[in-house]
């Protein structure tokens, strides 16, 4: 299916749940409301004409100017070989997005990574802990306003050794 057809199928099913679409660009995607996302994910995976059985990546992006954090889900269908992406937006101050680790188990680690580096809280995640950084790390480095620490547990950081 083309991105247009995929998008239309998603809009027909969820109507208000699809907030915006971008089909013309190099990364065709739909923006889905957090409330509708879990059901939409199951629909994308199980619908016989979509069959997005393979979640390629979950990428978090910080947009401080618009005061939002975005979680980007890139999907591909191993049956039909078509691709599509879904974005879920959440306010920067209180970022909550339903977890889809129950839909695609691969999301478990990807969501932990986005939580670790951007601080997006995935509700319903089986084990939402830091994955790459130490457990006692402060802050989320991939946020645009992240301030590099001067030291970590008494170890001076490189930026302060060679300013």
């Amino acid at each position: 299916m083309t991105p247009q057809e995929i998008c239309k199928r998603l809009c027909d099913r969820f109507g208000q749940g699809v907030l915006a679409t971008d089909i013309a660009g190099k990364h065709p995607h739909a923006v889905v409301a957090p409330d509708a996302w879990r059901a939409a994910a199951e629909f994308l995976r199980d619908d016989p004409e979509l069959k997005f059985d393979y979640l390629r990546a979950v990428s978090g992006v910080d947009y401080p100017k618009e005061s939002k954090l975005v979680s980007v889900y890139d999907l591909i269908s191993t049956a039909y070989r078509h691709t599509f992406a879904v974005k879920v937006e959440t306010p920067r101050e209180n970022p909550h997005i339903p977890s889809v680790a129950g839909v695609w188990p691969t999301a478990e680690w990807h969501e932990r990574e986005a939580y670790d580096l951007l601080g997006i809280v995935y509700d319903g995640h089986p084990n939402l802990t830091r994955i790459l950084l130490p457990e006692d790390w402060q802050g989320h480095p991939l946020r645009k306003d992240y301030v590099f620490p001067k030291e970590y547990n008494g170890i001076p950081c490189a930026s302060t050794v060679n300013p």
């Binding site: 660009g25 190099k26 990364h27 059985d53 393979y54 979640l55 390629r56 990546a57 990428s59 978090g60 992006v61 910080d62 980007v72 890139d74 191993t78 070989r81 691709t83 992406a85 695609w104 188990p105 691969t106 478990e108 680690w109 580096l117 830091r130 994955i131 790459l132 950084l133 130490p134 480095p141 991939l142």
Partner: protein, 403 residues
């Protein structure tokens, strides 16, 4: 869950009979006497020879039986994505070398292709062929390391020497092409950094003449070795549907019998003009998707890669080896997600551009990261000694897991 210190009643614990050991017909020993075990936490790594780098696995065991295997990663985290937001597009190429450092050519390629798609650049035909040649040679080199280290994990030292003997020749070819032996930065945005030197094509052909008969040697030495088969067959079986659900890719996915290869599914470069087959696990020594299948898919892929390189060398056109790309590249605002088939699976880049010379966001999806995430599910209910067999067959490179 059994209380601590209680005798085992129905463990389903498979204890192989060392004398009459027959694959697939292990004797299940029911013990209800006074054999008591205790749950134990075993810390494997981060410094451990069979974790292939700084991977730490917390194992919860009951005797020899693994109840839970939790990978702890991040020991090699070098903030590649944060660096990506602070350097220009061309400057990030050397950082991609350090992802999967056994396949730096393929990493360069995935990144270059993603940026090219974002900026609307197309590499010339000659560059595309050179890219296919170096990518497939690097695939062979990477699989040779897996072949060697997997033998090492299973207690055989010789395959390691054999694998590195041939890999050395590939590194020599790469050194001749770009000067580096491990971190190449050879495939750059718009093409390749330099043209192939004189006589390189002939030398690459000679290497293939030498290499192709060696595959039989590998099979005689390791693939069909009875000890090796007994250590790997029926161990760590991943069913096809679980492999897809966990986003596995590369030989780990194909080992489970899934005919999925991005070079065929969404062909880029000139792969659609070259003949090759997708190799999948067939369960020749046990069940489909066991460790032996994952291992053997890589041996088969080396044959196919050699085939691809031979065709590409014959078809290599003359012309430019790179497109004109501005030194200060400013892709138009937009975003792109692009994946290519690396030796370990699908390496993807999600790049957001805001029109400035620096990426707004650069996310890398490393195949080893996803491949490792299934470890707990596979290792559960295996024996402790099977962990190296499973980990080695998944073949993670920590540089790519932690980025």
């Amino acid at each position: 869950m059994r209380e601590h210190g209680q005798p085992i009643t129905t463990p389903g614990l498979v204890i192989p009979d060392p004398v009459n050991y027959d694959i697939g017909r292990e004797k299940v020993v029911e013990t209800d006497s006074d054999l008591r075990t205790e749950e134990m936490l075993i810390n494997m790594g981060p410094q451990h020879p069979s974790t292939h780098g700084v991977l730490r696995v917390m194992l919860r065991t009951d005797g020899e039986l693994i109840l839970e295997a939790t990978p702890h990663i991040g020991y090699l985290h070098r903030c590649a994505e944060k660096i990506g937001e602070n350097v220009q597009y061309h400057q990030f190429v050397p950082y991609t070398d350090r992802f999967d450092y056994l396949a730096a050519m393929n990493n360069n390629l995935a990144y270059a292709m993603a940026v090219e798609k974002l900026a609307g650049i197309e590499a010339p035909k000659r560059a595309q062929y050179i890219r296919v040649i170096v990518a497939e040679l690097n695939r062979i080199a990477s699989h040779l390391v897996m072949f060697g280290t997997y033998g090492l994990d299973m207690g055989a030292f010789t395959p390691f020497i054999y694998g590195f003997r041939e890999r050395e020749l590939i590194l020599d070819l790469f050194e001749a092409a770009c000067g580096a032996r491990l971190t190449y930065s050879y495939v750059t945005i718009g093409g390749v950094r330099e043209d192939l030197p004189e006589g390189w094509v002939r030398k690459a052909g000679e290497f293939l003449d030498y290499f192709q008969p060696k595959i039989k040697e590998y099979n005689d030495l390791l693939s069909y070795n009875q000890i090796f088969i007994k250590r790997t067959a029926n161990v760590g079986v991943i069913p096809a549907d679980r492999a897809i659900a966990y986003g596995l890719s590369g030989p780990v996915l194909r080992g489970s019998g899934v005919k999925w290869d991005l070079r065929k599914a969404t062909p880029d470069l000139v792969y659609d003009q070259l003949e090759f087959d997708i190799c999948v696990g067939e369960g020749r020594m046990g069940q489909v998707g066991d460790s032996w299948d994952r291992y053997f898919v890589r041996i088969l892929e080396m044959v196919q890669s050699a085939r691809i390189v031979r065709q590409a060398l014959a078809k290599l056109p003359s012309g430019d080896y790179r497109a004109k790309v501005p030194r200060l590249l400013k892709p138009p605002p937009g975003e792109v997600y692009y994946e290519t088939e690396n030796p370990r699976g699908q390496l993807g880049f999600y790049i957001v551009s805001d029109g400035s010379p620096v990426p707004y966001r650069l996310k890398a999806r490393g195949p080893s990261f996803c491949n490792l995430s299934i470890l707990n599910e596979v290792a559960k209910d295996c024996l402790l000694g099977d962990i190296p067999a499973i980990l080695g067959s998944i073949d993670v490179v920590m540089g790519e897991v932690d980025r």
